[in-house]
Amino acid sequence: MELTRKHTGIRVAPSRKAFLIFNTVFLLLICFVMLYPVIYVVAASFSEETAILRGDVTFIPVGAHVKAYQKVFVYPLLWQSYSNTLLYTVLGTAINLTLTVFGGWALSQRKMVGRRFFTLMCVFTMFFNGGMIPTFLVVKGLGMLNTIWAIVLPGAVSTYNMILMRTFFRQIPDSLVEAAELDGCRDFGILFRIVLPLSLASLMTIGMFYAVAHWNAYFSAVLYLSKPELYPLQIILRQVVLLNEIVENSTSTENVMAEGIKYATIVVAMLPMLCIYPFVQRYFVKGVMIGSVKE
């Protein structure tokens, strides 16, 4: 479409030119609005407290220093929570991917008797669920409160992702699977040696969605964890910024930089995501595209 337009639109009408200029300016403005909150948070985190309070910070730090970060980094639970989040993300995503691949593959295979029933059984849970309290009682009944399992198991499979995976697996030609069977490959061998190497891009995409969800999650920790040493990063951020805990517990010298500390904590919490985002962004977009194609 772009091509045809370029080739036929030899003359560029003045109104068209005006529109394009307006469009570019407008989109630049939108980009600015998208980026500015992040820029401001970073700038404020390096700024003097008084400058933040007076509203002198705009784009660059005022009176640049790292004192707020020094205060944040000695907060004992921060590093613990960082490693907790890392653990929850890695283990959680590994479980997610394993189950999603197993489920998606099994449900995609015609020789599995009853796959329609099982698919329906899974899909039904997308539209109806037991809700917060019954799920809490199940987790509690299993003795999982205050364990890592309460974080990684209740959401171990996203039905949506599993159905995506099944749809993808269905496009793998039967002949390929049959040829592998003739060569003496059994089901696990076919899956791991033939199918998965062909599905790396899809696996990446789905894995990214799972990993981001784990990294950003806070509510399951609110529900299921009460021991501070198990808290993920997001809970610490919530305590520092939204519940004001560092500030209330601290001595007067720290109070002087309450705002700086809050901004520094926000930066610490969002930095890893922002750093990897530009590189993995295309996988996410691909995920939306797969999802929008009806089988």
Partner: protein, 306 residues
């Protein structure tokens, strides 16, 4: 004959035994963590007793549902849920379409990619970071919004405790977070439009906005309709986890939705049966709406979830 058919079925199942083995952990997951809680919904009709558990507690029928429907909360929660969704539908849904239309007009590939990368970015920021930024920026003493208001001679406002500001705050936050992400699907739909249509329109002397109006918009109309209908199925859903972070006693009148209420009363307050009943009310209404939406979608656009 009966046995032979049975054994044939068994043989087929046996042939797929490894597939069942793979599916087993998934099946266990669904039974324990998805269907287990559904059985647990029975406590909405019981007076849940921590010691007696799911089965031992006494049946009380619809007592907790009646308690909810007779309380002032039912209208407040429904009103808040529906209004937040309505705001989103009126402002954020068309905004994403607009953004897609504008991004589509960009000729420079690199600029286009950059705009897309930047506008999708906020979608990956966690709800806690998002809520933290909102609270910080709106802070009456040091937030940039209030600093701006003060510098223009206005009076500093404590926005987070004003019930009348909550919906606006939440809607703008969601706009920032998801406008780019929501535009992806419209961009995909636009790229599916036949390029010859534009050419024909140009030959007929159609100007630039006319092409947008007569070709691009009709070209994505079916996508818009389907998404609108599907959204209808989710008007009972709001991002209650984010709302919980922004909620305080002062703004509760407009910020309270079913999810936050169930958490506060049911889980934190320990009223498990009552909380379950309220949550179940939401699930049932939500489920009915999804079915209705799907029926509408199949009827008017040949697209359906099942």
């Amino acid at each position: 004959m009966h046995t032979s058919r049975g054994s044939r079925l068994w043989r087929r199942i046996w042939a797929a035994r490894y597939l069942y083995l793979m599916f087993l952990p998934v099946l266990i997951y669904y039974i324990v963590f998805r269907y287990g809680p559904m059985l647990g919904l029975s406590i909405a009709f019981k007076k849940y007793d921590l010691i007696k558990g799911f089965t031992g507690s006494k049946w009380v029928g619809f007592k907790y549902f009646q308690q909810f429907f007779n309380s002032i909360y039912v209208w407040r929660l429904l009103r808040n849920t529906l209004l937040i969704n309505l705001y989103d539908l009126i402002f954020n849904f068309p905004a994403a379409i607009m953004l897609a239309l504008l991004i589509n007009e960009v000729q420079n590939r690199r600029f286009k990619k950059t705009v897309q990368t930047i506008t999708y970015m906020p979608y990956f920021i966690s709800s806690v970071v998002l809520a933290s930024m909102v609270v910080q920026f709106l802070s009456p003493s040091s937030g940039i919004i209030n600093n701006l208001i003060a510098s223009m001679g206005g009076e500093r406002q404590y926005f987070m405790v004003q019930p009348e500001s909550f919906r606006t705050i939440f809607t703008i936050m969601n706009l920032w977070k998801s406008i780019g992400w929501n535009s992806i699907i419209f961009l995909a739909a636009i790229s599916g439009i036949n390029g010859e249509l534009y050419e024909a329109c140009r030959v007929d002397g159609g100007g630039y906005l006319r092409q947008m109006w007569h070709i691009t918009l009709p070209g994505i109309a079916s996508t818009i309709v389907v998404l609108l209908i599907m959204r209808l199925g989710h008007v009972m859903d709001v991002g209650y986890e984010t709302i919980l972070l922004l909620q305080n006693n002062a703004n509760q009148e407009t910020s309270d939705v079913i999810g936050t209420y169930v958490y506060r009363r049911g889980l934190k307050g320990g009223e498990y049966s009552y909380g379950t009943a309220v949550g179940m009310f939401q699930s049932v209404v939500g489920f009915s709406l999804v079915i209705l939406a799907n029926w509408l979608s199949r009827r008017y656009s040949d697209t359906s979830l099942w």
